[in-house]
């Protein structure tokens, strides 16, 4: 969410600047939209390459890997990087195709070409649908896979706890509470929200949504009347996002 906001602001600023300069938006500026998360293309290449090493390091911390397995994973990661830069090249061609037609009315079209790639740069190339991940899943034997599964789940739980603590810390600024209330809210939230992606833009809505499904008396034991009214307001906001949460697959376990 914040990323989109920053990008939008940047685009607005670029548009303003471009208006004054008769739209001198060139391929360098287009590239800077794509690589703004890391600085430039060269730095992106370096980061992607080191991310492969990092993925291998992570797996090795949890289970031992044979050299042939590491090699297959590395090749798959390089395949992901190549595919990404192929998409960058296609995006550049699409940008050039706009040519002289680039003006203040269709500058957003150019941005829309860059935006998905910019998001990939920020999120990283080795998510669940990547070649690297597929090769990891297909390369490990049962014992290795089980170790990875346990460690991944533990790590996910730690990140969920962080997301919940962050949500509660921010909530405390909007609904002031005592230390005792905060601790009780933490425990009740930890036991009701099992898994969450901290980097998901809908994290706070998901937590509020989950809590809104609890029997009301659970919260009545913790919060006073004014606090309850306030948290109910945030629950109502979260319920308005129900369709979005479903669309994001965040309510799949319901």
């Amino acid at each position: 969410m914040v990323r989109s906001g920053n990008v939008l602001l940047w685009v607005v600023m670029t548009i303003s600047s471009a208006t004054a300069q008769q739209f001198q938006i060139d391929i360098n500026q287009f590239d800077s939209w794509i690589f703004q998360g890391v600085g430039n293309e060269t730095r992106a290449q370096t980061l992607f390459a080191s991310a492969i090493d990092l993925e291998i390091n992570r797996l090795e911390r949890w289970t031992s890997l044979e050299d042939s397995q590491k090699e297959r994973i590395r090749l798959a990661g390089q395949g992901d990087i190549k595919r990404f830069f192929d998409r960058v090249e296609k995006a550049r061609r699409d940008f050039h195709a706009l040519g002289d037609q680039l003006n203040q009315n269709n500058i957003n079209e150019a941005y829309q070409i860059a935006s998905p790639l910019s998001q990939e740069v920020s999120k990283g190339l080795f998510g669940e649908t990547s070649l690297l991940r597929k090769v990891v899943n297909g390369t490990l034997d049962d014992e290795q896979a089980e170790k990875i599964r346990v460690e991944t789940a533990r790590r996910k739980r730690l990140h969920t706890e962080t997301a919940i603590k962050m949500w509660l810390a921010e909530l405390g600024r909007r609904i002031p509470m005592t230390g005792e209330q905060r601790e009780a809210m933490l425990q009740i939230t930890l036991s009701n929200v099992k898994s969450i992606e901290a980097e998901n833009r809908y994290t706070s809505y998901l937590i509020s949504y989950r809590l809104s499904k609890m029997p009301p008396d659970k919260l009545e034991e913790i919060l006073d009347e004014a606090q309850l009214k306030a948290i109910q307001y945030s629950f109502n906001q979260a319920k308005q996002y129900e369709a979005m949460l479903k669309q994001q697959g965040l309510l799949n376990d319901e």
Partner: protein, 254 residues
């Protein structure tokens, strides 16, 4: 005093203009003088409304943790209002305040620049005005609860940073815990409202004090961390004043 200064500016300007009417050619000079006087006398700014919910939220916190009598609460609200009025000194208008690298910049809903952290200011003000009003026990409750809240907020933000580091460096559970203890003890100026930006922009890392991090990391992790935290970025924190930001509606200062 404020009225006097305003009046002073207006009066001097009119007087100079009166003398100059007979000499049109001097009008430019007169205007210059008027502008100089305007510039010399500090602009008097009222505390903006968007800071009021922060003060009201702190008063709601005080009510819950100190349990003041009605009479005490009345006095607290009066003092809080005075403290709020003096917060105008934080507002820089459209001037860009000097911000050190790594320091957080706070802004109002209409891009008003603030010098310093308004949440910290509200809490420091309360610490000053509460002492003469509350009993020793009540005041100690505020001190204790404030520390609990600060530690919880900083702790949550620190876990976010540790998760970000974990993603880049593959930390062990022991390293995570050691980092948490070191950062909680030594990193005072971490702020929850800005740290969330790094979750949405994972290619940037907050500026974490090296002396706290280095002893916990391996040589390989240290070099990875140095590379990952090379790009410095400044996120701004916007203070909003709508109902979605401040949920509890106890308007002590209207």
């Amino acid at each position: 005093m404020q009225t006097f200064l305003r009046t002073f500016v207006v009066l001097v300007t009119i007087t100079v203009c009166g003398q100059a009417r007979s000499k049109d050619r001097d009008l430019g000079l007169v205007n210059d003088v008027a502008e100089m006087i305007e510039a010399a006398v500090p602009k008097l700014v009222e505390s903006p409304d968007f800071l009021k919910p922060l003060v009201n939220s702190e008063l709601s916190f005080i009510k819950r943790v100190c349990r003041p009598t009605v009479n005490q609460m009345d006095k607290i609200v009066v003092e809080a209002k005075t403290a709020f009025d003096s917060m105008s000194d934080m507002v820089q208008g459209n001037n860009q305040p000097f911000v050190r690298v790594g320091e957080i910049r706070f802004m109002g809903p209409n891009q008003e620049q603030l010098s310093g952290n308004p949440y910290g200011r509200v809490r420091r003000d309360a610490m000053k005005y509460l002492k003469p009003i509350l009993s020793e026990k009540q005041f100690q409750s505020y001190v204790d609860e404030t520390k609990l809240r600060d530690d919880f907020e900083r702790g949550a933000a620190i876990w976010v940073v540790i998760d970000l580091m974990d993603n880049k460096l593959v930390l062990t559970i022991e390293q995570r815990q050691k980092l948490y203890e070191k950062l909680l003890a030594g990193w005072r100026d971490i702020e929850i409202s800005s740290i969330q930006n790094y979750v949405s922009n994972p290619n940037y890392m907050p500026q974490v004090p090296n002396n706290l991090v280095d002893p916990v990391l391996s040589t390989e992790q240290r070099s990875l961390w140095n590379a990952a935290s090379q790009t410095r970025v400044q996120f701004q924190v916007s203070i909003r004043e709508d109902n979605t930001t401040f949920l509890i509606h106890e308007d002590w200062i209207r």
